[in-house]
Symmetry: C2
């Protein structure tokens, strides 16, 4: 009898969690498991703000996929997904194709630029290892160039962060710690450096507790961040950005570095493959399958799960993707064993911690508000927990964060 | 009685040696000594190829001037020299002016681009701390950018070094050691990296022993350097260079990084101040004074001293500049004490060692040819000697190179 073939696309939080759980649930003779990923490593998306600022080396935010998969049970294919032919039950890869009986799409999100002119071309993203490394290098290059100019251009040292959501705020926390180091490394007067955060929404960290938001803003302002709230980026150019508050005439802010940290949409492969989607995200069934496709699961940033309490989608996070991965693995194991009664996914929100740099953070954990050192401690616990969930204690020892006191 | 005022312009090898020797020879009551320098640090010009390649941090190639001068005897002024009004016996600084009774011009050289179009704009230089740091950052930025490109542009990873003289060859030695590190850091396939050295002269390291030259070339070729000898750079563009052999039609070499390491001329302040000069260098008297100006000494890269044996000028080196500094200090001390019989400068060539990276070098020391590990050892001895001559054992301990075995 032919074994069913399970193909998992993407080795992010959702895909990798599905893989490591499946290799636990299923015996070698029950199924063939294939994991497809662009790189041979997994990276911690939630740590990229550190690699981008330069406070943590990018090698610390990634690990080899082969270190966490059981190679006797899982075939790893390093390739990029081009398109899913869902009616033919196969996936077109950049260097081949692969057929499936069960498919898990966990390809991650893409930056959403809302059609703002020039953002795609001129803004840097905190999206993956390559983009974070380039952003770090770009800032260093601006600082290094500054000293070589006959006519000093102070706007080289201006860094604009578009978006005061989770990623934007965490990046600002790291950046304010990094700037004194950059100034020392490149002989730059720290007073010349400007950090500006532009947010179109009427508040920083929308959805967060207002008291915690106030704490975060005052801490970052104290460290030199200027906030322009309720202000939209209208255009990005090689020289900086144009912003406007409400219906005001746009004004220019010249800046050597513009970072876009304001939005995530689903993967473009989703729409290209003909799935019905909103901004690349598919509203999945409670069992995480795509309506009408009983053999296709979608997890993580490309899936849409409604928070019934407020009738709005849950924001895409590592926490939700990993929980989806656990349920998805159990549901696929059930299908392989011909059980048709699948488990429903329910998000169990254990809390959220937003880092404000090495030794500061804000958060709500088990319903309790925390700030400062204790929140920062919890953030590292959360970071280590992701490692533990996917790779066990060994991975925590290898890649964990222990500078916690 | 008014004390004579000695003004020393530049804290490079020549100027700093003059200063530390003068503070030893003269008592506090004999003269006022003023040292003027653009930066508050001295840098080891002969180590810049390491900072440029990224094999040695730029903070290791510089030290604080205040650490080696006796502040009870020497006033340090941090400023840039604009012009010397030699008939009024004063120096115009960017932020003021200073009068002198005795002047030492030791402002160092500048890159000589021989009027080649685009070199000044688009090529990087191994000239000072700022330019070396920028070159290092530029290469890193090219490597980081490579991975973000949808269409990979391999020429980003091509590094052209213009000039196979001392600086060019020493830089190539470090660069070939650095490239594997860069490839690892930025996830780049080493086979994509190209290093090309272009030299207009018919040989590498003109003036060096042919046997040693052969050794150097074969070592660098083995490590991946392609040499284009007898080939001139005709133009530098943002995309690379145009080269031609003899009367051939120029051909383009696309390269993400072009380094110009081929020529040094005297300081532009020399010509601006109306001194008679050839490429910014003044043919000084045997006592190191400028013909016609009994109160002005010129040392180092802006001075011209003829090697009588071959009737050609000595190439400007740290060794000659430091020896000039010693003689200059003795001559000024004599003038202060109203002795008119000045010492004549005679260059005592102790040998030359050209590094080929961390653990390899070629050289002639006390007339003996050496290569490999023993030459590399001698190179570090030479580097430490400069520190010792200027700052004593304390400076050697602080900044010396001890990775010698």
């Amino acid at each position: 009898m032919r074994k069913p073939k399970i193909v998992i696309l993407g080795a992010g939080y959702g895909g990798l969690m599905t893989t490591v759980r499946l290799q636990k649930h299923l015996g070698v003779n029950e199924a063939d498991i294939v994991l497809v990923n662009k790189n041979d490593y997994h990276y911690e998306t939630t740590w990229l703000h550190e690699a981008s600022a330069g406070t943590l080396h990018h090698d610390k935010v990634r690990y080899d996929i082969r270190d966490v998969i059981d190679r006797s049970k899982v075939d790893f294919v390093q390739s990029t997904v081009v398109e899913i032919k869902k009616d033919e039950k196969k996936v077109i890869l950049e260097n081949g194709e692969v057929e499936y009986d069960y498919l898990v799409i966990a390809l991650g999100g893409e930056p959403e630029t809302f059609g703002i002119k020039g953002l795609k071309e001129y803004a840097f993203g905190i999206t993956n290892v390559n983009s974070s490394r380039l952003l770090r290098e770009h800032m260093e290059y601006q600082f290094a160039t500054y000293n070589m100019e006959e006519e000093k251009d102070d706007t080289r040292l201006t860094i604009v962060v578009g978006g005061a959501g989770f990623t934007g705020i965490e990046f600002l926390g790291e950046l304010t710690n990094r700037v004194p180091e950059l100034c020392h490394e490149y002989d730059v007067d720290q007073h010349k450096v400007k950090i500006i955060c532009v947010e179109a929404a009427p508040t920083v960290l929308p959805g967060f507790d207002p008291e915690l938001v106030k704490y975060a803003v005052s801490q970052l302002e104290r460290k030199g961040v200027e906030f322009l709230i309720g202000t939209a980026i209208k255009e990005c150019t090689p020289e900086g950005i144009f912003v406007a508050k409400g219906e005001d005439e746009p004004r220019e802010i010249k800046a050597g570095t513009v970072v876009w940290a304001a939005g995530v949409r689903g993967n473009s492969v989703i729409e290209k493959s003909g799935f019905e989607a909103m901004r690349g995200r598919v509203k999945v069934q409670p069992d995480l399958r795509v309506p009408g496709f009983n053999d296709v699961f979608i997890l993580g940033d490309s899936s849409l799960v409604i928070n019934e309490e407020i009738n709005r989608p849950y924001p895409p996070t590592a926490q939700i993707a990993m929980q989806q991965g656990e349920v998805c693995a159990r549901n696929i194991a059930a299908l392989v064993r011909n059980k048709q009664d699948l488990e429903e996914f329910k998000f169990d929100n254990k809390g959220t911690v937003c880092s404000l740099g090495e030794d500061d953070a804000i958060g709500v954990v088990f319903g309790k508000k925390i700030t400062g050192a204790s929140a920062s401690f919890m953030k590292k616990v959360v970071d280590n927990r992701s490692l533990y969930m996917i790779g066990g204690a060994g991975l925590v020892l290898k890649k964990g964060k222990f500078n916690i006191f």
